[in-house]
């Protein structure tokens, strides 16, 4: 490391005092949990439409689940601008894949592995894409659901979640997920977890999308809200009987 007083000759050198760091140090606009489950006919993903700026719920129409090609859905939590960058890479990937025009196409497994390579390589350069990604899809009847983290950790499972979802949703999945759920049952399960997250995760907002992918194609629902209940008596007079407590 150079002593503070010295500056380098090249102005492009990122160790000089002028330029500052050109690698990701912390996220700015972030999305919270993404949930994913396999069900009988395919995969269902759920996420809210919130983009937080620190503790401020600044953006309320951020779509964090997108379709990739014919066979895959991608959901992301973490830095929104990095998610947009990933979508840009994938756009190009899918374009070249389509340009072959030869009956072969990239499926969810290929996309998952590609993203894993991208995330891991960026992490090794100390310039990560600050996201946790959920990749789900169906190809030739085969269902696929996996996750990639910002440090390149990746795995496949029957149900996945990012962020707070790992702590609040996955235990519910472990108890109640079944292989042969219908889509309605899968949605009920996802909504149960989304409601818990809405109550307990401060960066969650009450505006959700559920995305579904089967062999027939992709459907992403319109944004909608869940019913919540705040009428607990303890909330009416919060400090009653709580002497000196927070």
């Amino acid at each position: 490391m150079e002593p503070v007083g010295l500056s380098s000759a090249s102005s492009k050198d990122s160790t000089s005092l002028d330029v500052g760091s050109e690698r990701t140090l912390y996220p700015y606009v972030t999305g919270t949990s993404v949930l994913g489950v396999k069900y009988k006919d395919g995969i269902a993903l759920a996420a809210d439409l919130g983009g937080s700026y620190g503790s401020t719920l600044r953006y309320k129409s951020v779509e964090r689940i997108k379709a990739i090609g014919k066979h895959t859905l991608l959901g992301a939590s973490g830095e929104i601008s990095d998610f947009q960058e990933i979508l840009h890479y994938l756009d190009e990937l899918i374009l070249y894949d389509n340009m072959w025009d030869d009956g072969n196409s990239l499926g969810p497994k290929e996309i998952h592995n590609y993203l894993n390579r991208v995330m891991y390589n960026r992490r090794n350069k100390f310039n990560p894409l600050w996201n946790s990604l959920v990749i789900g899809g169906v190809k030739n009847g085969q269902k696929y659901l996996g996750m990639v983290g910002m440090i390149g950790t990746h795995f496949e499972d029957n149900h996945v979640a990012t962020g707070f979802g790992n702590h609040l949703a996955r235990p519910i999945f472990r108890d109640e997920w079944r292989e042969d759920m219908t889509f309605e049952e899968a949605v009920r399960l996802l909504e149960k977890c989304l409601r818990v997250l809405l109550y307990r995760d401060r960066s969650a907002i009450n505006k959700f999308q559920i995305a579904k992918i089967t062999d027939e194609g992709v459907t992403i629902s319109q944004p909608y809200s869940l019913k919540t209940f705040w009428g607990f008596s303890a909330f009416k007079d919060p400090s009653k009987g709580a002497e000196g407590s927070w």
Binding site: N104, L106, G107, E110, H112
Partner: protein, 261 residues
């Protein structure tokens, strides 16, 4: 008449619109020992004639495994073939590393064809002197391609290259319509029959040929000599039995071997 004037380097056209150096390179393929390939809906078989430089030496390797789902048979300059096989293996493994998936055969042959084409358009290069029969399986089915030294490639139900390959081609042309529904064993048998056509007077034994197969649930591999000898023996038993029953009836295709090019 003009051939000698326009054949010095590959980047010179002849007045008739030909690149003689490329055509000369294709001659090298025709001089190499034979290689044939045939495919069904689920399997592809490759077979080559083993030619040894002398009685003292071993024969050259003409069949290469490129990946679990792809293999090639070559005819022509085996050194060029080896180098191209290394390129093919490298392409497959790079794709598998990024995508955890086997490289589709049609895309591999395009990469190979583009590589060959480069050598037809640089004055400081020469074309590869080897033709490759690429046999592979991907999600769109079983495929057999022929990659030419010119940079062209074609898909085939069955094909033969190398010396005396016309005899094998004639044999295959008569029967190719049935190939798609062939079983694995029928494919291998016909591959050996086609090789037999190119051998003419030499005896077909498992030492003089190499057979490889790839198919659904079966990674590309060369079939061991013992199994091949058994297939050859069963073919001969059948021929002798048919000959006994009335030699006049049977039309042995080796009677009228077509004239080679």
């Amino acid at each position: 008449m003009f051939r000698n004037q326009y054949d010095t380097d590959v980047t010179t056209w002849s007045p008739a619109g030909r690149l003689f150096q490329v055509e000369y390179a294709m001659e090298a393929v025709k001089q190499g020992s034979a290689a044939i390939g045939l495919r069904s809906a689920t399997h592809v078989a490759l077979a080559t004639v083993n030619k040894a430089a002398s009685e003292l030496s071993s024969h050259q390797k003409k069949v290469f495994k490129v990946d679990d789902h792809i293999g090639v048979a070559i005819a022509g300059l085996t050194a060029d073939g080896r180098v191209l096989s290394r390129f093919l293996r490298s392409e497959c493994i790079n794709y598998a590393f990024v995508y955890e998936s086997p490289l589709p055969v049609s895309r591999l042959v395009v990469h190979l064809a583009d590589k060959a084409q480069v050598c037809t358009q640089r004055s400081w290069k020469r074309p590869y002197g080897v033709g490759l029969l690429v046999a592979g399986l991907d999600e769109t089915g079983a495929h057999l391609y022929y990659n030419c030294t010119s940079g062209n490639y074609f898909e085939y139900q069955a094909f033969a290259i190398g010396s005396r390959s016309q005899a094998a081609k004639t044999y295959l042309e008569r029967r190719f319509e049935a190939f798609n529904s062939y079983s694995r064993e029928e494919l291998i048998k016909d591959a050996l029959c086609a090789i037999k056509e190119t051998l003419q007077s030499e005896k077909l034994t498992s030492a003089t040929c190499t057979v490889a197969v790839v198919g659904v649930g079966e990674p590309f591999h060369v079939i061991d000599q013992k199994t091949i000898q058994e297939v050859i023996d069963s073919m001969e038993i059948r021929e002798e039995a048919a000959a006994d029953q009335g030699a006049m009836q049977e039309d042995k295709s080796s009677e009228a071997a077509p004239v080679d090019i």
